[in-house]
Symmetry: C2
Subunit: 324 residues, 2 copies
Amino acid sequence: MTLQLGEFELIERIRRGQVVAAGSRTILGIGDDCAALALRPGEILLATTDMLMDGRHFLLDLHGAEAAGYKALGVNVSDIAAMAGLPIAALVAVALPRDRAEAVGEGLNRGVRVMADRFGIELIGGDTNAWDGPLVISVTVLGVASRQGIVTRSGARAGDAILVTGPLGGSLESGRHLRVEPRVELARQIQELAPIHAMIDISDGLVGDLGHILEESGGPGAVLEAEAIPIHEDAQRAALAGGRGALERALGDGEDFELCLTMSEAGAERVVAAFPGLRRIGWITADPRRLIRIGGRFEPWPAGGFDHLRAGCGRGGIATGAQA
Amino acid sequence: MTLQLGEFELIERIRRGQVVAAGSRTILGIGDDCAALALRPGEILLATTDMLMDGRHFLLDLHGAEAAGYKALGVNVSDIAAMAGLPIAALVAVALPRDRAEAVGEGLNRGVRVMADRFGIELIGGDTNAWDGPLVISVTVLGVASRQGIVTRSGARAGDAILVTGPLGGSLESGRHLRVEPRVELARQIQELAPIHAMIDISDGLVGDLGHILEESGGPGAVLEAEAIPIHEDAQRAALAGGRGALERALGDGEDFELCLTMSEAGAERVVAAFPGLRRIGWITADPRRLIRIGGRFEPWPAGGFDHLRAGCGRGGIATGAQA
């Protein structure tokens, strides 16, 4: 009797897609009060959450629900990448605009699944609501740390090289901020080749996020080399259209979702040789000042970066003379 | 040099409250890209998420931010209780109304911490946003399963007794829905005494949530005994004010956050003797019908329960003659 019901239960779960591939950590997926995961002995669990709101992190009418879903999962996966971790599972809670809840929900689901499938992430939990307000999507991603352990923001040391994984700037103007490319594999490959001392993903802008590393690492300083900073063609294009210059955009714009990391100079040489996209852009100093070398001169960093509480981009920066 | 920085880092983390009690699973709390948790060998991780919106799950102007924060964490902890699990950590993402972001944020934080402290839950992650929309709070709670394993919705068997952990109904009218009392300890104590076959927390209303158990368990039926169902004094009071009767409210109202569970009749006798609040309210049948015995007559269940997508309470019910 018990066995037969057990079998029925299993079939029912397979039917509902709750039974997952062999080797999966998921014991129980969507459909119960909680999801259940089995981690392997010695694994360290990573967990991160980000909430995206229509009008704030995307424009539903302009970008569509699929783009919002893709970005909402992507920014969380990028946080896992910033710890050199591997994403394994996600929980998605949404408040859907009531007048088009079904269409928006389906679009979100498509976008979330594209990102999830890219990284083999299992959708293990969710909460679906409808209301009279704008679309809100809140995602939690769970992951596991690499064999070498977690990489935090707080391990930068004087003498470290500072690196970024790709070109920066102009992501908001071009819409690139929606097409998040989390650097999961690259971070893990770098960490295999040379120990990463500190790492962060660039969501607030290079100087803002590198500033977080400096603060969390006990207050060393840094020198950036203006000529070494990889400037995205989106930033070049935006600069041609007027306003701030391309370098200023690369330094201060947010939502690039590249990684900024520090490691020994010897390690940096190895990884730059191995991964063409990686660029060494400066170094950590015992001197707590934050400087940028432009031509032969050292100047203080521009203030700011992309501040989610103040909205928009383009405050501060070298051109306006604001100070960090 | 490395050691000195390491010490500085530790001090800095202690200052920020990131270093937690000995025995804690938290390696890294709020303040980095992700939190990091170490689970013990063999532990199964539970994860659940729920999003609460102003005007939908609470009224900010009427109830205040502290009540919203308390409820938002509480409903998630109740989901962990429904698996007989132990909550260990929470991540909280919020969209704060911009014109009073600070005051609302502080109130939420107070409410979340009251609930967190009651259950020893560590706040390991968060995302704080401000916008022009209403308050939204999305919580993810992580927990671990009991030594006996996870308790799902899907294990009910014909012949099982059906039990509830406390009186039901009238929670929305009285505001009791804000003062969630997750049955974490009781669920674990019951599970120690006799194996729980299936369990759910009552958020949609007794008939709705017991219906979920029946569906997930492969389609058995159930008989409820009207006279055995514990009716909350809030339901009695609301019934006196008119509209639906007290029994109907106990059957159909939602947001009680008591647990509904099934186990063998022998087990039910043991646990009812041990825990005075527990009530045996019916039994699971091989016959797939869902019946309630009122006086000597068997009637079909009333339709509904509290449906979060349709809003409000009080649809269907015995008095209106709606059928399941």
